[in-house]
């Protein structure tokens, strides 16, 4: 049975992406930091990838058990 806390996963990823971008903004490479909108877009992409990965893992487990 797939049990995922989707909200927590999204919050963790969003926090991670924001934190990474803030580090870049606060450096000599600030011009390469993403805009706030892009950070959210990137977090969404990472979230989708993570959820797909988790679903694939869970599916494999179910198939093994069957």
């Amino acid at each position: 049975m797939l049990k995922l806390d989707a909200t927590r996963i999204l919050e963790d990823i969003l926090e991670r992406e924001k934190e990474r971008n803030e580090l870049l903004k606060d450096s000599a490479y600030a011009q390469f930091a993403l805009s706030d909108e892009s950070v959210i877009e990137e977090a969404q992409k990472a979230y989708h990838a993570k959820m797909m990965d988790e679903i694939m893992k869970a599916t494999k487990e179910v198939l093994k058990g069957g």
């Binding site: 990474r20 580090l23 870049l24 606060d26 450096s27 000599a28 490479y29 600030a30 011009q31 390469f32 930091a33 993403l34 805009s35 909108e37 892009s38 990137e42 992409k45 990472a46």
Partner: protein
């Protein structure tokens, strides 16, 4: 050497020779033979908002996204490790470039150079002392592979980018 540093060293130590090989083979033009700035965000110093003019108008930022450990033997005497990374290539899209597609072509060239390095070091990637393959091996892994690429542009900041996912494995490490 931690894994992000290893990946950055693998790219930076091999960048110039990979770029030259691709220029020679005609895969990239010499105008795009540029070495970007390699960034590990964990080790860059705060700059208090000051901007610095850099030689390069491109960066390669490396993040570790995941790391997992397995102990495949019954006595837990051997460790296998798998690491997942994001390698984000970003280049400035400038109005003063001579051609409209210059930034796009630059990004493509940077991607081809990174891909070349991963493909030519996929088995037993190694980093040498001083970046010279004549010196002792400083660190190594068993497998490194490029897994995917996605576009990651930022119109508001006039940045073009490719986001690569890379996997690295270290296997059969005695505990």
């Amino acid at each position: 050497m931690d894994e992000v540093t290893f990946l950055i060293r693998l790219l930076s130590d091999n960048w110039a020779s990979a770029a030259s090989a691709l220029v020679s083979s005609g895969d990239i033009t010499s105008s795009h033979n540029e070495t970007p700035n390699f960034i590990d965000v964990r080790s860059i110093a705060p700059n208090e908002g000051r901007r610095v003019d850099m030689d390069s108008k491109s960066v390669v930022i490396v993040y570790e996204d995941s790391g997992s450990t397995e102990y495949p033997t019954i006595d837990y005497s051997v460790r296998n490790e798998t690491f997942g990374f994001t390698v984000h290539i970003r280049t400035m899209h400038r109005r003063d470039f001579s051609e409209l597609t210059f930034s796009r072509d630059r990004l493509q060239a940077l991607y081809r150079i990174a891909r070349y390095i991963f493909e030519n070091n996929s088995l037993q990637p190694k980093v040498y002392v001083g970046g010279n393959s004549g010196n002792a091996i400083e660190d190594s892994a068993q497998i490194i592979k490029l897994q995917s690429r996605s576009e990651a542009n930022d119109r508001n900041k006039r940045l073009l980018g490719y986001k690569l996912t890379v996997e690295m494995k270290r296997m059969a490490i005695s505990v």
